[in-house]
């Protein structure tokens, strides 16, 4: 127990108020909190749907919850059911085998809802494109509010995408 507590104290709080490009994420964090506070009662619930990605984008979505980014401190939570969600975060080209599941998830999400397509594949179909097995971009299957490019997009880019989507709704 002593060792555990010592590790917590020595590691300290690494959560970045202003990571890497310094100002960029700090602004993001402040604006994000403000907007969420105003429009979602400081609670934004996200349901992630992997509609056929290579799993690269999922790695970065996980990283958003790591201590450096700590998305939850901003009032943004990942939830287990689309019925609890304000936002769908969709990755991948939509495989034909996930088409129905994605549509059903979208329908199960209560209005008003936002959809953010994550990654090059979600934006354009990426390297997989459209084929007998792939519907391509997410907007070919459900309406998309914001699309975040990148292969995979960084956690910062994903957080920016969430802000953009929420800010658009606020207008």
């Amino acid at each position: 127990m002593y060792q555990l507590l010592k590790q917590i104290v020595t590691a300290g709080i690494v959560t970045e108020a202003a990571p890497q490009a310094d100002e960029s994420l700090r602004n993001l964090e402040q604006r994000l909190s403000e907007v969420i506070l105003k429009h979602f009662g400081r609670a934004l619930a996200i349901r992630h749907v992997d509609a056929g990605s290579c799993n690269g984008c999922e790695l970065e979505i996980h990283a958003c919850n790591s201590p450096y980014y700590n998305l939850e401190r901003l009032g943004i939570k990942f939830v287990a059911s689309p019925r609890h969600a304000d936002v769908l975060l969709v990755t991948g080209p939509v495989s034909r085998n996930m088409e129905v599941a994605l549509l059903r998830t979208y329908e199960a999400t209560p209005d008003p809802k936002l959809v953010i397509a994550i990654g090059d594949c979600g934006c354009s179909g990426g390297i997989f494109g459209e084929s007998y097995a792939s519907c391509g971009r997410v907007s070919n299957v459900i309406p998309v509010d914001v699309a975040v490019p990148g292969c995979p997009p960084t956690p910062t880019a994903i957080m920016q995408g969430i802000l953009t989507a929420v800010a658009a709704r606020a207008r």
Binding site: G52, C54, S66, R96, V100
Partner: protein, 515 residues
């Protein structure tokens, strides 16, 4: 030449790994498999191909791992009735691969009790085979009916929990059908294939050069392993020799990928037993490593750095100094965290004897990779066939026999520290010279094998070239194919709330097996 273990003539395949190929009659497949099994050869992969454009019918391919290397058997099958004797009773891991091979190419395993579809859901009808040459990749069928007969468990108090394809967490899609009584799992049946996005067909529209990017996106968390396996296959098929500096850098990249994945998974495993401390500590270390990757190689997950012929990024002397310095810090912190995990009674109580796969079952079903090494199946390509750059640094294999979550955690910790040692050894003796050689022109009918020990297990890329530097057939194989069926067994008798923990201890790829 005569094969070292089987009574057949084989041809050595040019390339980095020891590999041989042979054309055999479908009629002798079973006998060969029985002999191979008796000699403890492992089934690595099984796939089908369409040879009608090359004057044949279809073909069934098998990759077996022997002490002498990889053996790639191809059995030509007639155009009218491409049937072959199924081998799933000899190698149980072949079952799903046989079904996938049928869904995609129409080669049919006779006398196999299980003929349910596997990768095909409702996206194309059962009379159509997308990997046949006369099938256009852009063909679009309306979504058809998708019925899949799960095995039903009956009895008093038994009920089912269907989970997925959209899961509660941030993970890939798949369907799990639990049959439970009370809290206990009586049976788990997996249904995968949700992520099938036509990767193999897409390869056939690409040149050897273009394919590298797609190979790096078969399974995002193993992008280095796949990119290396792809590059190795192309280099073998074209007779290209990557410079030794490139090989050393590939070794560094592959070990960095292993370290990053183990850091993340070890953190999540603690999270799954309510020790969120472990998650935050290990994900801090993982993020440190990802940022270092981005700084040194320009990509957090090291995508697109390994290409046929070599690597696209070099490591300057001061950069390798930085790499070693940062790794040392991660290493010492990880060592402290390991002792905390080891002494944390609550964590160990959840880890030990949970999700057990005993060595006998593991050997019988062909468990591979880190999960195999935790269950007494002690294979690691870096040790079994140490090619450059591993030859120079002598990797040590991490092993265990108990086969539970704790054993897989133990193997992961050992590999984490061993990979750090390997990166240090490789970075300290980087050979001078170029990092990339020009890729020689390919000719139609060339074959190449890429076989790499990724963090999850062995990744195989089997390549046959067409003319004009194009791909006739490329089969990428993920170790998850063989390990998914063992997850079904590992959870038996465990309680449902332990499923996420057991699942994470394997952390298998959906995208890599759905293709």
């Amino acid at each position: 030449m005569q094969h070292a273990e089987l009574p057949i003539d084989v041809q050595p395949l040019p390339g980095a790994m020891p590999a041989f190929c042979a054309a055999v009659d479908a009629g002798v497949l079973r006998a060969l498999c029985e002999t191979a099994r008796a000699k403890k050869a492992r089934l690595v992969s099984l796939w089908g191909s369409d040879e009608t454009l090359r004057g044949g019918g279809y073909a069934l391919h098998l990759a077996l791992a022997f002490p002498s290397g990889l053996l790639w058997l191809s059995a030509p099958l007639p155009r009218g009735q491409p049937h072959y004797p199924g081998i799933a009773d000899i190698y149980p891991g072949a079952n799903r691969m046989q079904r996938a091979a049928y869904d995609l190419t129409g080669v049919y395993a006779q006398d196999n009790p299980d003929h349910r579809k596997w990768l095909r859901h409702g996206a194309w009808p059962d009379s159509v085979f997308p990997l046949r040459k006369d099938f256009n990749i852009a063909t679009h069928f309306p979504q058809g009916e998708d019925r899949y007969p799960f095995v039903k468990v009956e009895g008093e108090g038994v009920h089912e929990i269907p989970v997925g394809p959209v899961h509660a967490g941030t993970i890939e899609p798949g369907h799990f059908r639990f049959s439970i009584v009370g809290e206990k799992i009586l049976r788990l049946e997996e249904r995968l294939g949700y992520k099938h996005k036509g990767i193999e067909k897409r390869f056939e529209t690409m040149t050897l050069e273009e394919g590298a990017k797609l190979a790096g996106r078969i399974s995002g968390d193993s992008t280095v392993a796949y990119a290396w396996a792809y590059a190795m296959a192309v280099e073998g098929a074209t007779g290209t020799g990557p410079p030794s500096r490139a090989l050393a850098l590939r070794g560094i990249l592959l070990e960095l990928e292993r370290i990053a994945n183990h850091l993340g998974d070890i953190g999540y495993l603690a999270n799954d037993v309510a020790l969120s401390f472990g998650f935050f500590q290990f994900w801090r270390l993982k993020e440190d490593l990802l940022r270092l990757n981005a700084q040194l190689f320009g990509h957090r997950y090291l995508m697109d750095i390994i290409v046929p012929g070599g690597v696209t990024r070099d490591l300057a002397r001061n950069e390798s100094g930085l790499l070693l310095e940062r790794l040392e810090k991660i290493q010492s912190e990880a060592a402290t965290l390991k002792s905390i995990y080891d002494e944390h009674a609550g964590t160990q109580d959840r880890f030990i004897m949970t999700g057990q796969v005993l060595p006998e079952l593991a050997e019988q079903m062909g468990l591979v990779g880190l999960a195999g090494r935790a269950s007494g199946v002690w294979h690691d390509l870096r040790v079994d066939h140490p090619i450059p750059p591993y030859q120079q640094v002598e990797p040590r294999i991490a092993t265990h026999t108990r086969g539970d979550v704790a054993a897989r955690v133990s193997v992961r910790f050992e590999e984490l520290f061993e990979s750090m040692r390997l990166v240090q050894a490789l970075a300290n003796q980087l050979p001078p010279g170029e990092t990339r050689a020009p890729v020689a022109a390919g000719t139609a009918g060339g074959r190449g094998i890429g076989w790499v020990e990724g963090w999850r297990g062995e990744v195989l890329v089997a390549l046959e070239t067409a003319d004009a530097n194009r791909i006739h057939r490329l089969h990428p194989h993920d170790p998850s194919w063989l390990n998914w069926p063992l997850l079904e067994r590992a959870v038996l008798g465990n309680i449902v709330p332990d499923f996420p923990l057991i699942n994470k201890s394997f952390n298998l790829s959906y995208s890599g097996q759905d293709l």
